[in-house]
């Protein structure tokens, strides 16, 4: 995905037009043939270079959806898809933080505990001590930021692998959460409060979902078009106008279909809006800013980053701070979904699902490859399997085995892609 935009530009440029002899309507047919040929050429080049990006996960997602839809046709109903889109948000936000950590080639095991801790901080401050909701919310998120910063700084200074430091964090923050919750055990949140609304509020006006789809595709179109103009102005390789239109059209089709389906149930969920905006925002941070470039560089070669006089300590600290913050925000969404915080918050499969989502979505375990969108795609796969299992009355045992199989496949694809790339370099 990182290199996606530009390498596709190359593909479009290199595509030869090969009209076939028996063409009745040369104009259209040739254009179509050219588009298909271009697509195949790009795909082949990416396959041989080991740059698959998000293609495997999209295929897996399609397979999962088709399978469950054929088993039970309520799977792709607006109601189920809408619920699915809200269910992915809590863990998905945590997975976005995990993507950052994976990109620098580390692992954060404390995110589950931190998410539970943040939820507990909010619940105790707001419900038990009467602190205003907005203030408690900010303090809860900051708890995650501080937890992440402390761990990140320790990792950077001691040079102990992050998974060990955050393993200590996992225990510490879980203990802290239990301490804060005290003997009360479970704290119930206000059913109509701000946090509860996070996952229960829907924009019932149909215009909201369509507007989001329109703004999203519009921005993508404008940015690509602007990029094309600047490249043309200085005489550099650029995408064809048709290429941009096709890409935008595909995106628009997906976005407007989703908006239509959401509107057929209860409208655009607030949670989904927050999720998509954060993922898109952090994607821009990673791919278009100096900070993001440093994150990728650290994942590529920490020694090279050091010699290019990058601030390695600062970036490592910041990355774990981001993952702590995202864990806290995710924890609040998870608490919102059940409108309570219990001693079990942030435990169980949460951590594993978040990591699995990032990896299934195509973020490399070896560091340096992946985008925040992989958290969305990976969560969609995991949650689709979970939801499909419930609908088809399959036991949880099978769900775990299938999710495990998908994760294993993702890791194998990741390792193979890496090896193909290196072999490509030696050739």
């Amino acid at each position: 995905m990182v290199k996606g935009t530009h390498s596709e530009a190359d593909g479009t440029r290199a595509a030869p037009s090969a009209p076939t002899a028996d063409d009745r309507r040369p104009g259209r047919r040739a254009a179509l043939a050219q588009v298909i040929e271009t697509g195949v050429a790009v795909l082949r080049r990416k396959l041989s270079a080991g740059e698959l990006g998000s293609l495997p996960v999209v295929l897996v997602l399609a397979a999962v959806w088709i399978t469950f839809q054929s088993l039970n046709d309520s799977f792709l109903s607006p109601r189920n898809l809408s619920n699915l889109s809200v269910d992915i948000v809590g863990t998905g936000l945590i997975a976005v933080g995990i993507v950052f950590v994976l990109l620098i080639g580390e692992l954060d095991l404390s995110v589950g505990s931190v998410s539970g801790l943040a939820a507990a901080v909010f619940a105790v401050l707001n419900v038990n001590n009467g602190v205003p909701e907005w203030l408690a919310l900010i303090l809860a998120v900051l708890t995650g930021t501080v937890a992440g910063t402390v761990q990140g700084y320790s990792v950077a200074k001691t040079r102990v692998p992050a998974f060990v430091v955050t393993l200590a964090g996992l225990l510490t923050f879980n203990g802290l959460m239990l301490y804060i919750l005290g003997t009360s055990g479970t704290v119930n949140l206000d059913e109509d409060g701000l946090v509860a609304q996070l996952t229960s509020y829907y924009f019932t006006n149909d215009a909201a979902a369509y507007a989001l789809a329109a703004v999203g595709t519009g921005l993508v179109f404008l940015v690509s078009q602007q990029d094309r103009r600047r490249r043309m102005a200085v005489g550099m390789p650029h995408r064809t106008f048709r290429g941009i239109v096709v890409r935008t059209a595909v995106l628009a089709a997906v976005a407007f279909t989703a908006a239509y389906l959401l509107n057929r149930f209860q409208g655009l969920p607030l949670a989904l809006l927050v999720f998509l905006v954060m993922v898109a925002g952090l994607d821009i941070v990673l791919r278009r800013t100096h900070y993001g470039r440093q994150v990728y560089a650290l994942g590529g070669s920490i020694e090279a980053a050091r010699r290019a006089s990058l601030n390695v300590t600062g970036v490592q600290t910041a990355v774990l701070a981001v993952s702590g913050t995202m864990a806290a925000i995710g924890g609040l969404f998870l608490a919102s979904r059940i409108t309570s915080v219990s001693q079990g918050a942030g435990s169980g499969l949460l951590l594993l699902n978040a990591i699995a989502a990032a990896v299934i979505g195509g973020t490399s375990l070896f560091g340096g490859r992946g985008t925040t969108w992989s958290a969305v795609l990976g969560m969609l796969v995991i949650q689709s399997i979970a939801s499909g299992m419930v609908i088809t009355d399959t036991p949880t045992a099978v769900q775990f085995m299938i999710t495990g199989g998908v994760l294993f496949a993702a890791v194998v694809i990741d390792a193979l892609a890496r090896r193909t790339q290196e072999a490509h370099g030696r050739a």
Partner: protein, 257 residues
């Protein structure tokens, strides 16, 4: 009296723990001159490069830039002076593309965001000047051939218009054609008035290219030669220690490599 050398080391020492890796090193690099740094494995060549480039700063001794003493404590300091380094391991990020590697740590920004178009434009300009086979600028560096990677590393070092270039074994991993391309390039840079420190094991390269040769042995200076007048035997004798002007010590391994 000629102008002071671009870069001069006076009595530079470096130790890793209790092991003294470099002792009282003297070295001068003048503008428009290629100085070959020679020595056996573990003589301290790569360590000396890292001292000059600020990766592992020296403990003792003076580094002079155009005659005035300067401090090089971090890679940043060396870069600001105008010292660029191409490391033996190239120090590239394999996952970043060519443009990303070239501008790593000094990205061009536009409204706070990376200006990919401008960076790509300058990259292609620079690479077209350096090499015939310009690689795909948006391919991750790990998928390039070793010769292309070497070109990328050299291009990166030239980006800030440096005055002194340190090349650590630039031709060790290259085939014949790529080697001659790199050597031609070094020749060009010298003609443009750059000072070059060239580490090489290949006496052919040294003879063809260098003006002077400095020999290190066991972390000490072991002779300076004018490459045009000194015989190859003299230089090799100095490298192997057949002609020794330092007292023999326990041989030790150079840390780091």
């Amino acid at each position: 009296m000629a102008s002071p050398p671009l870069l001069a080391l006076r009595g530079v020492c470096k130790r890793f723990g209790v092991v003294e890796v470099l002792t009282d090193i003297e070295l001068e690099i003048r503008a428009g001159q290629v100085v070959a740094l020679l020595g056996d494995n573990g003589a301290g060549k790569s360590t000396l490069v890292k001292v000059i480039s600020g990766v592992t700063p020296a403990e003792k001794g003076i580094i002079e830039w155009e005659g005035r003493p300067v401090q090089i404590r971090r890679p940043h300091d060396a870069r600001n002076l105008g010292i660029a380094t191409v490391y033996q391991d190239l120090a590239l990020c394999g996952n970043l593309d060519v443009v990303g590697n070239l501008f790593l740590g000094r990205e061009i920004r536009r409204f706070g965001f990376l200006d990919e178009v401008e960076m790509e434009r300058r990259t292609s300009q620079l690479l077209e000047r350096l090499t015939r086979g310009v690689p795909d600028l948006r391919a991750p560096v790990v998928s390039l051939s070793s010769g292309q990677r070497q070109t990328v590393a050299i291009a990166r070092s030239l980006l800030g218009d440096p005055r002194v270039l340190l090349l650590d074994e630039p031709t060790a991993a290259l085939g014949f054609e790529q080697t001659s391309e790199v050597l031609d390039l070094v020749d060009q840079l010298r003609d443009h008035g750059m000072g070059v420190l060239l580490i090489s094991h290949n006496m052919g390269d040294v003879k063809a290219l260098a003006d002077r040769a400095a020999v290190l042995r066991l972390g000490r200076n072991n002779g300076f030669f004018d490459v045009n007048t000194a015989s190859q035997e003299q230089i090799i004798a100095s490298i192997t220690g057949a002609t020794e002007n330092v007292p023999r010590r326990m041989a030790h391994r150079e840390a780091g490599w």
